[in-house]
Symmetry: C2
Subunit: 476 residues, 2 copies
């Protein structure tokens, strides 16, 4: 198939009109839910449900056949029996449709008969000049225009708009599976590749390369379709925006299992690792990182060096953070004499990294009130390239108010990355404080290890970018 | 100092009367809060606050001096200036007190002067026959008797009673820092060793060895005081109950930092790793694991083999779980022909591990209703030694109800470990379902990786137990 230009892929994410063919019975999965999801997300395009057995769904007319649609169709969503998909795709092509999402399963992930059906579908699509996402996919979403055709109940929950595109060979990233607003993860585009019979990670990378709404790309892959193409494209894209990849099939057992999940052919993990290093692709290790680690890139500047500052209410977490940082080439720094002196004048021994707030808070009466001053002094120190701050969310007194003041004063002016972890006896208060810091543009992570890894990836990416741009790291 | 018998350490956890010397001013930290914590937690022993500057705190009389206390004192809690601690300890000793918690900081963690003060304190304690927890500690707690003298505001929150003793060289485990009830982590005893000048991990292990309320021990350590003693005692204790240890200072940088946190001398990590393997001690890698991974041991039977079954609503997570399992010697299993046939009759291809509920739920109308039947068939299969189940918490229909029925029927009868991860678009619903499963005795983990690691540790522990008992693994 000819390579489509990125703009042609926009039919999948910004269609002016879509057709949906499937069942419109009220169930937890199906066409009924797709229409509900679209209406709930505020999609403004035209929606054409198709099924001869229904007249109306959610107040929209259901057409009896594709040929009856009185309009151009940019995108078709197909969720009918696998054996009938090819025929329907052909009818859509006759209507001029060039983009098809095949939600139906029963293809290569099922059995050899399904694999054959999938092969035939791809051959037909090539002949017709149609592009396919899927089959066996939960589909796509675009938060910029309210285009959320989620086929699963509860997938019409509001997605949180943000700067990360998330793509995966699983529907676990679609809005029926993940509480985007609650976990404060903001997305631009979502794409479940499903069996990835046609449109794949490389196509998406090319599309996202120029997508103005996407600043970071986060991907879960079980396979790479074309290693050389992936290397070429991801290197080019990574030079513009960070690309984070979680890849399963690291072990032989996992690789074997991915075949029956999406019919994927696995790639040797060492080869993949080497390719990622070359291409500047940042590798993730766990599922939650897909959602959590992009945050460092969508709000924080890249670190200019690897000198890690740590402030904490608890020495134990600081010690663990130093261990963790060493894994990612982050070296615990010391403070300049002036900063150290200033902090030591508040409390003896305070002017050291980790800056341990615990004993100070217990001993110095107005220490809480001095939170903003202390945070700013450490952030401003020229020997600190990045800061990890551990906050104790305590309901008493004015402590939370002071944190907010401290961060507010840094908002928009700091040129260094700041990552935060919040703990405390009330999960609700910790969550509320985290949310308010994130609303100001400061990412808060679910664990100290995640916060440090985020900084570690940012530092790795900063070095790679400097290297490919032929520049050297700034003097330190 | 002579080794105390475990029962003598009970003064720290089950004192009939305690004295508290410090400030009783209303502040977020101090004696005022300790008394508040004790009263809130329902401590039934006698409480003697001491300070000549106060008359009353929370309705209790404050005594002017130690000698004025009209009673025996089992435990003293000291939070006064570091330089005055030795003198006060001597007065307590004169009153017959043998157990002292020194909350005060400013000792070895501060500077050389503090280190000297600490040395002198230890020498004096030995002379007087007094045992010390601390200094620089947030103290202890015992959920069995409401003994929670937490010195930090908000530490009087209810702790959740449970079977895990948690001990650490940090106050991050004390109730002012961790939302025990919300995160459903049940504890028996809490002990912050602080600077660990006297009572240490070995003493605690010996005490917990015979503590009937403790089934699992979870520890965070920055140092080991006596490697050989630790090896001997932990091996003996691990034969009775699982011992999980998170140790910082894995890197040189981390080791250095732990010196200034608690004045600890670090031990070479490779030596420690070897000691743990020999002693059957299970090592943890991240802070949250301290709280999360003991759950597998307090409710589930040990696996009799390493054959891992997986059920999931999402194939992607199953693939990642297989990768993860391989790290811990858990091998993905297959089903017996009868089980496979039974599942295949529900949906073609369903009778395989991972048992993928996703396509079945979408295609088979009564699949949700058959959840209990499906779960039981897989759990009962003789080729499954342990099961990882991934649940989609969906607000629609009867799905959550069916999960609960399925687990309820297994409760108390299953002889295999079952670990669960719950996901879904509503964080509240996922949390509610998790809580109900945990109330039935089935641990739910915060991530797929944690669930698999819990099974992995259980399998490792099961093998070690079999080995030291000179028995062989049961036939498989």
């Amino acid at each position: 198939m000819d390579k489509e230009s990125p703009s042609q892929l926009s039919s999948f994410f910004d269609p002016r009109s879509i057709a949906i063919i499937g069942s419109f019975r009220e169930e937890f999965f199906g066409g009924y839910v797709i229409v509900k999801s679209l209406l709930n997300a505020g999609y403004k395009g035209r929606i054409y449900p198709i099924n001869p057995a229904y007249e109306e769904v959610h107040g929209l007319k259901v057409h009896a056949s594709i040929s009856e649609i009185p309009d151009n169709v940019d995108l078709a969503i197909i969720m009918i029996n696998a054996r009938s998909v090819a025929k329907v795709m052909e009818e859509f092509a006759e209507k001029g449709v060039k983009a098809v999402v095949v939600v139906s399963d029963g293809f290569a992930e099922r059995d050899t008969e399904g694999a054959l059906l999938q092969e035939e579908l791809v051959a037909l699509a090539r002949k017709l000049g149609v592009r396919i996402i899927g089959p066996n996919t939960a589909g796509v979403a675009n938060t910029a225009n309210g285009f959320n055709p989620c086929p699963y109940e509860a997938g019409y929950y509001t997605i949180r708009e943000g700067l990360t595109a998330i793509c995966a060979q699983t529907g676990m990233i679609n809005p029926q599976a993940f509480p985007y607003p609650k976990l404060r993860f903001g997305v631009s585009k979502i794409c479940d590749f499903g069996n990835k019979c046609d449109l794949d990670e490389c196509d998406m990378l090319e599309y996202l390369e120029t997508d103005p709404d996407t600043k970071v790309i986060s991907m879960y892959l079980e396979s790479i379709r074309d290693g050389q193409r992936f290397l070429d494209i991801s290197r080019r894209v990574a030079a513009k925006k960070p690309v984070l990849v979680l890849k399963s099939g690291k072990t032989q057992e996992g690789a074997k299992a991915s075949v029956s999940h999406t019919g994927a052919i696995a790639v040797d993990d060492k080869v993949f690792e080497a390719a990622c290093s070359q291409a500047g692709v940042l590798r993730l290790a766990e599922f939650h990182e897909l959602f959590e680690l992009p945050k460092i890139f969508d709000s924080q500047p890249l670190p200019k060096g690897n000198r890690l500052g740590i402030m904490s209410f608890t020495g134990g977490v600081a010690v663990l953070a130093i261990d963790e940082g060493a894994k990612f080439d982050l070296a615990v720094t010391s403070l300049n004499p002036e900063t150290a002196e200033r902090l030591n004048s508040i409390f003896p021994g305070f002017g050291e990294i980790p800056v341990d707030m615990g004993p100070v808070m217990a001993a110095v009466r107005d220490a809480f009130d001095r939170c903003p001053e202390i945070l700013h002094a450490v952030m401003a120190d020229s020997k600190v390239d990045a800061l990890f701050n551990v906050l104790w969310a305590n309901p008493s007194g004015n402590i939370v108010k002071r944190y907010l003041e401290a961060y507010e004063a840094l908002s928009g002016v700091s040129s260094k990355p700041l990552v935060t972890w919040v703990y405390g006896p009330s999960a609700e208060l910790a969550s509320e404080l985290s949310g308010r810091l994130e609303d100001m543009g400061f990412p808060v992570f679910s664990s100290p290890a995640s916060a440090i890894k985020a900084l570690g990836l940012a530092w790795k990416y900063a070095q790679w970018r400097n290297r490919i741009q032929g520049t050297v790291c700034p003097d330190r």
